[in-house]
Amino acid sequence: MIKLLSVEWIRFSRNPLNLWIVGLFLLLMTLSAVWSGLAAREFRAKAAAPMPHQQSTNQAEMHDAPQRADSARKPTSVSASSAAPPIQLPALGGLALNVSQTDLLSTTFKISTRSRHTDGRTSDQLFNPLMHELGLLDFATVLALLMPLAIIALTYGLVQEDRESGVWRLVCSQTSQPWKLVFAALGLRYGLLLSVIVIASLIAFALDPGVSAAAIGHWLVLISLYNLIWFSIAGLFLLLPISSGAAAVAMLGFWLIITFAVPASLGWAANQAVNMPSRMTAIVDIRQFQEQTSQQRQTLLDDWYATHAEIKPSVPLKDLSRETAALPAALKLDSRIRPLMYQFDQARKTQFEFMERWSGLSPALGVILMADRLAGIDAPRYADFINAVNQFEDQWRDFFVPLIMADIPWTDEQQKAVPQFGFRLEDNQSDCVRLWLTQLSTAVALLTLLFILRSRFDKT
């Protein structure tokens, strides 16, 4: 086999077209790796930078914005509450694989006594939609798209062209097991492409200061399997009794189907299984809640003080500041909006899990889902994060609201007792293993089929 490989290497390396293809693939993957690694580095630097105190709005802009403290010497509970630092979704070790997707998700949240769901300024990202429509150079996406094409190019006419020229007849007359030649050719190309994507992956990871060994390990296993799947598919296409051009076009068609049509169909099926609620219908519901709570504002204020008999207003109710008087209504409103908004995250989570289960049908989809998992921006983790943010928001409000309603002067002791957010980094190793096991089973099935059909390479 070693001799076959060395012969194949001579054949491979003496064809300048092969070297061009590998070189171009290396160039594009390196470009993508550098861009992705630097983008991940930038994301982490921004997340780590101390956030300047930024009120969601100020009095110059909004007359009902929280009052500013009279001076630095006299902070109030309201001013202290508005100084709470934003909460950020902590990225995981594989952020460099899918970093631009963080644009589409809200990864920073400002906790306050007002509903964060009704003000896009506190959580929405700013991005040019055209850039996402055109697509950026996310490493995982570029790899999932380009690697099959590099394989199609490198395996073009490997058997069919020799058949067309009559060389294959000669080969078969020289060996009783011509499939070994094909397997050696595929094996050599597999090793070369794997080296390219491993090098490119390591470049991307090296540029991201937050990379983890687990992310690298899972990713390298996955891409070696993805590579194997596509070489197995290429091997099966080499069996077809058609011309080399027709085989290349057919394989291109197959690539289009399992890379574009299957994920789109799975997306549709996931939506049929778990219907994503309508954001626009949610708007109508939110407005209904807003009107109801607006009408109940005074009642809710009275009820709040009645329920919290130990807390007395500092002034008669009619003289309360605007932010204090409106606080119970704001809390009530948020308690109704929050479950409405969480259902979107919950639906995304279930759809993601659905697509993971079926990712064996589209290896490229498996690569993307794994990248999301490793980056920590997958829908299940995001839904868990939002849940944690909601719980923290409750805890934070339980602390601040009584102080605001009682208008108690802010002290250093209270500052020390302010609740701190801590999102436990869930261990998603088993999910990652499940994803690459799916790829492994696909690879094994394809390789087994190729091995069973190996005698067909004898046909001249």
Binding site: N58, R121, L130, M131, L134, A144, G245, A248, R279, V284
Partner: protein
């Protein structure tokens, strides 16, 4: 002579098994994608309309409250999608679906559909535009990569040469024959699309012009691919190398150029962070632009001006509501600051769009995508037009509530109340999308790039004809 070549190429392309297999498959994909896109668009339009009506009715039926409290309830508006968007949804997946209009603040559109999707948009959208932009050029490559090289390999090129057929009419005849056959195969899909669109939507004359322009531009796009494919087939010695080069070009044009263009634009002109953007607006409102003074100085100056205007010494003695007057004054300033920053942001996005063309040397797909989005009314320029119209409407209805407040109160009173008749008197948001001239003006650069590619492809075809040897 050229007519005979066109006829021969036309017939042989139609008889080619590849056209039957690939053409029929793509036709089926096109029709399925189109029907799905159209169904989605129809649902979206209905939902936008019904939610828009409900949201306005919610505004109309608000309880009795102060006009300013009513204004804070706000109005939601939605951008109506053109029927042409069934062919290309453009930026829709990445642009928010709704815009909330409220006092004091100008908002960005919220809730982009891609945030709720899992993975489909990573590989492009499963839409008709994907078939038109990506798959049909591939069909052309598959049909034409050996159009000349096969003649050479079979020896028929030598025979044609010996018959005195010049190379130029030969390659141009092949181009026209191929395009004619391709158009014939494509026409059932176009007929289906037009009939279905006409049955499900009321097509305005502007929609029809947009569809015709789109068709002509896509034919230009396909002509570029066909010309380059035939030029490559004439230039390279073997079909294998031709196919490799053409697939490489297709890949570069369809998949790499848009991505590299986007990355170049984002690198050369990075989008500001959301925090920075909003913070700059707040700071400018609080501290004032140029030498306007800060908000307190502006408020004091305004108060003095109003008192002088009405000839009174105290706000309490004013014959109109001062609270509303003051609020309107600060809102006017806020609108000015918002307009400045929003325009800067949208100019920045437009600059990024122009910068994406740095990658247009890799292929014409980037320009046809921009043109297609523009003609479908789903590009940045159309979105900006809508947002500006919504902003004008915001000024209108906020000013109206302030007028009620100001006219019904005196001095520093805050007690005036509005009721359903007032809320109902606010006109509906009636948005008129711009016409095709606007779309073509905004896509001028894309058009120039596309035509540039056509000229380049025809020059290459001419040069390859000159070098053609049997």
């Amino acid at each position: 002579m050229i007519a005979a070549i066109i006829r021969k190429e036309f017939i042989s392309t139609l008889r080619d098994g590849r056209l039957l297999a690939l053409g029929v498959s793509l036709l089926a994909i096109f029709i399925v994608y189109f029907l799905v896109s159209m169904h989605e668009l129809q649902q979206l339009r209905q939902e936008k309309q019904s939610v828009g009506i409900t949201a306005k009715e919610q505004w109309n039926t608000q309880s009795v409250k102060t006009p300013h409290a009513a204004a804070h309830y706000g109005i939601y508006v939605f951008k109506p999608d053109s029927p042409v968007a069934a062919l290309d949804p453009g930026l829709r997946p990445f642009i928010g679906q709704s815009l909330w209009l409220e006092p004091h603040k100008r908002n960005l559109v919220r809730f982009n559909p891609s945030a709720d999707q899992i993975a489909a948009n990573r590989f492009g959208q499963a839409t008709t535009s994907f078939v038109l932009n990506a798959l049909l050029p591939l069909l052309i490559v598959a049909l034409s990569f050996n159009s000349v090289s096969q003649e050479r390999e079979r020896g028929t090129l030598r025979m044609l040469h010996s018959l005195g057929i010049a190379a130029k009419p030969l390659v141009f005849g092949k181009l026209l024959g191929l395009l004619a056959a391709f158009t014939l195969v494509l026409s059932p899909a176009l007929v289906v699309a037009i009939v279905v669109l006409n049955q499900n939507f009321t097509l305005s004359s502007d929609d029809v012009f947009r569809l015709i322009a789109l068709l002509l531009l896509f034919l230009t796009y396909y002509a570029i691919f066909a010309a380059l494919a035939i030029a490559a087939s004439a230039y390279f010695q073997t079909s294998r190398i031709t196919l490799f080069c053409l697939l490489g070009f297709w890949l570069a044009s369809v998949f790499l150029a848009p991505r590299l263009g986007a990355v170049s634009a984002e690198t050369l002109a990075p989008t500001p962070a959301a925090g920075q953007f909003w913070s700059a607006i707040k700071t400018d409102i609080a501290q004032g632009l140029d030498s306007d003074g800060n908000d307190e100085q502006r408020a004091r100056a305004f108060e003095a001006k109003v008192l002088a205007q009405y000839g009174v010494s105290r706000k309490e003695d004013l014959p109109v509501g001062f609270v509303s007057l003051k609020r309107q004054n600060s809102d006017n300033y806020s609108e000015r600051v918002h307009a400045l920053h929003f325009d800067r942001l949208r100019d920045h996005f437009a600059r990024q769009q122009h910068l994406t063309h740095l990658a247009s040397w890799m292929g014409p797909s980037l320009s046809i995508r921009s043109l297609s989005m523009a003609l479908s009314g789903m590009d940045l320029a159309h979105q900006r037009h809508f947002e500006d119209a919504a902003e004008s409407y915001r000024h209108y209805f906020i000013d109206l509530t302030e007028d009620w407040d100001r006219e019904r109160t005196h001095g520093t009173e805050r007690s005036t109340q509005g009721e359903e008749a007032d809320w109902r008197s606010v006109k509906d948001f009636d948005y008129k999308a711009p016409d095709i001239v606007f779309a073509l003006k905004t896509a001028q650069l894309d058009f120039i790039v596309l035509i540039g590619w056509l000229v380049f492809a025809l020059i290459l075809l001419t040069l390859s004809a000159k070098r053609l040897t049997p």
